[in-house]
Symmetry: C2
Subunit: 365 residues, 2 copies
């Protein structure tokens, strides 16, 4: 006997996060043996034709969804964005060169901190003084001439802010940590040199990291690097230098197919805009709730808001959880509430939260 | 509708490898929603109480199975043993010190190669001249006085050899890559300083690496290391510095529970000895098959053998595959055949292979 969809609740967690039910159902159906293969996806060799086909389809679907130009490689790695914080400078920040970092939030700050262990880093703008409540403006960026690259974080999961457009960085390669908004909207890969994302928000379960890298950057990877941290090695070996996270890649592939079935990135972006608009409208309606991000920087993925007191916030989270609205507690670093509404989060769940918010205000306002 | 057990074949792959059917069935049953949680294991936050309990139970079961002393930490990392090839020297090989490596096979050689990028390495014994057909003898080890550590590879997956007992290394910390025989037999953790293994052979699906490290070694990890490669950071954060591979850890936990249900490591070792003995007996019966490992070095996990010609070997693999005996082709580096018979590989599958071998010899002998 298998668990049914009726037992599921609304999961507003910031990641790992909700997945499409149809994807979960397919994983469940084929768990004991992939059709025609006679083995579970959890047991098949990464050198098998079955997995080669799974990997190739995931790669092709990612390319199709984002319109990735042919001179970019898609890599499936491990270790999360946190490992990329080190791999990026270890591979593409040459000794003596400087890497520019845009400090738009807690994760951006962590990325810069790791890069400083490797080489010269310049923080070209920071909104830390504003509690990261907004995205730095183009006019604030003090870019380094001849920078090895410019690093940005497109969506700031903890603070609930998001770049509305890519910064202009001239000739410098743009490196973008898109962990929390990858494939939630169209992305112009050609304006980037390197894009990376942990899968566990919009793309699949935890355990795999997607890296999209322009091929000319691969020449920067030195042979003295630890092999597993060398982008060029992973690119040459088509992400099969060693045993990859087979199951996570399979699941990402199913989510990519689901995304294509939804109509692709432009279509899912419309849904995401609708979901976020409904929540922000409720936040702005009376002043009982207070959005923490400045309006022009508001994230479509992580909607952060507060109440008048921490006591009221605790009550809100507790009663929401009891009502089947789970994961609304804000990150421990900032407090308050956070509703993460990634691609697979259903519109009905947003409706349920809005209703709950109205009812909570009526009782406590 | 879900796939049934009747569609499954015998999977002799070297890893990722076969898992216990009861574990697969439990994963399948709870895939849409963990009982009482309302979310899939693929969706739950790694900071949730549910996952904390899963992690704590996996840790406790690993400790109980191996009798791990309290002054050791169990870490759940990513990147496979190949990442450990770098993490070990980066963390515990100080500048100026020397690490001793026992070169018993292709993976041991790779481990030493990565360590050489980090510091001084001495190959204290090698059986490469014998095509790695045997384990180096104690008398052959030219250990370095005051070595930072001695690195060994307990089972050589490609060549089908296995240490029957741990080498004597004096006061030097013993580091053991047990990727392909971890928990297939009792292990004396107290004789080691560090044990590591990719999970995908005896412990679970690909995507998580188990590291068991003696606490005093954690003092060697320098703060200048990339954070994600720092053992001390992972130990301090209880493997939750960043998002861990939630699903793979869950699956490893279920396999550990299964292993306890089988009676633990001594009990599974008896089964593994029986399975290997049946296969080696057939290999030795007439001379039609030829074992490639020397008899005193034969692995209980990977049984490697050859036939008179490569043509006959191709025929063997092809007909075996058609008969539902999959994954018998040897590693591309050495050729021949390899039957990997890890913990979860059923005795009935060994019986099926022995019958097939006898029939194949009757027709082609």
């Amino acid at each position: 006997m298998t668990t049914s969809i009726s037992t599921r609740i609304h999961n507003f967690a910031a990641g790992p996060a909700v997945l499409p039910v149809s994807v979960l159902e397919q994983i469940q159906r084929d768990l004991l043996a992939l059709p025609g293969v006679g083995m579970s996806i959890l047991e098949i060799s990464h050198r098998s034709k079955t997995f080669e086909a799974i990997l190739a389809k995931a790669d092709a679907d990612i390319r199709a969804l984002a319109g990735i130009p042919p001179n970019y490689k898609v890599l499936f790695l491990q270790g999360g964005a946190s490992t990329q914080f080190s791999m990026v400078p270890m591979n593409i920040l040459a000794p003596g060169a400087t890497a520019d970092y845009i400090d738009s939030g807690s994760w951006a700050e962590k990325a810069a901190k790791e890069a400083k262990k490797v080489g010269n880093v310049s923080i070209v703008a920071s909104t830390k003084g504003d509690n990261y409540a907004r995205i730095p403006r183009q006019s604030e960026l003090k870019l380094t001439r001849g920078a090895a690259y410019v690093h940005m974080t497109s969506n700031n999961t903890i603070e609930g802010t998001e770049f509305k457009e890519l910064p202009e960085v001239g000739d410098a390669p743009l490196v973008n940590d898109t962990s929390s908004d990858m494939f939630s909207r169209p992305i112009d890969i050609a304006k980037h040199a390197l894009v990376y994302a942990g899968a566990q928000k919009n793309m699949g379960p935890a355990g795999v990291t997607i890296v999209i890298i322009r091929e000319d950057l691969l020449q920067r990877s030195q042979k003295t690097l630890p092999t597993m941290l060398n982008y060029a090695v992973h690119a040459e070996n088509n992400s099969l230098y060693n045993t990859p996270p087979v199951f996570s890649i399979y699941a990402v592939g199913l989510v990519m197919q689901w995304l294509r079935d939804q109509g692709g990135l432009a279509a899912i972006a419309r849904v995401n805009e609708r979901k976020a608009a409904a929540l922000y409208a409720e936040i702005d309606r009376t002043g009982f709730y207070r959005g923490t991000a400045q309006k022009d920087s508001r994230s479509l993925m992580n909607v952060t808001f507060r109440l008048a007191t921490e006591e009221l916030e605790s009550k809100f989270v507790k009663e929401a959880t009891a009502a089947g609205l789970d994961g609304l507690k804000g990150h421990r670093a900032v407090g308050g509430m956070r509703a993460s509404i990634y691609n697979a989060f259903p519109e009905a769940g947003v409706g349920a939260l809005v209703s709950f918010m109205q009812e909570f205000e009526r009782k406590n306002g």
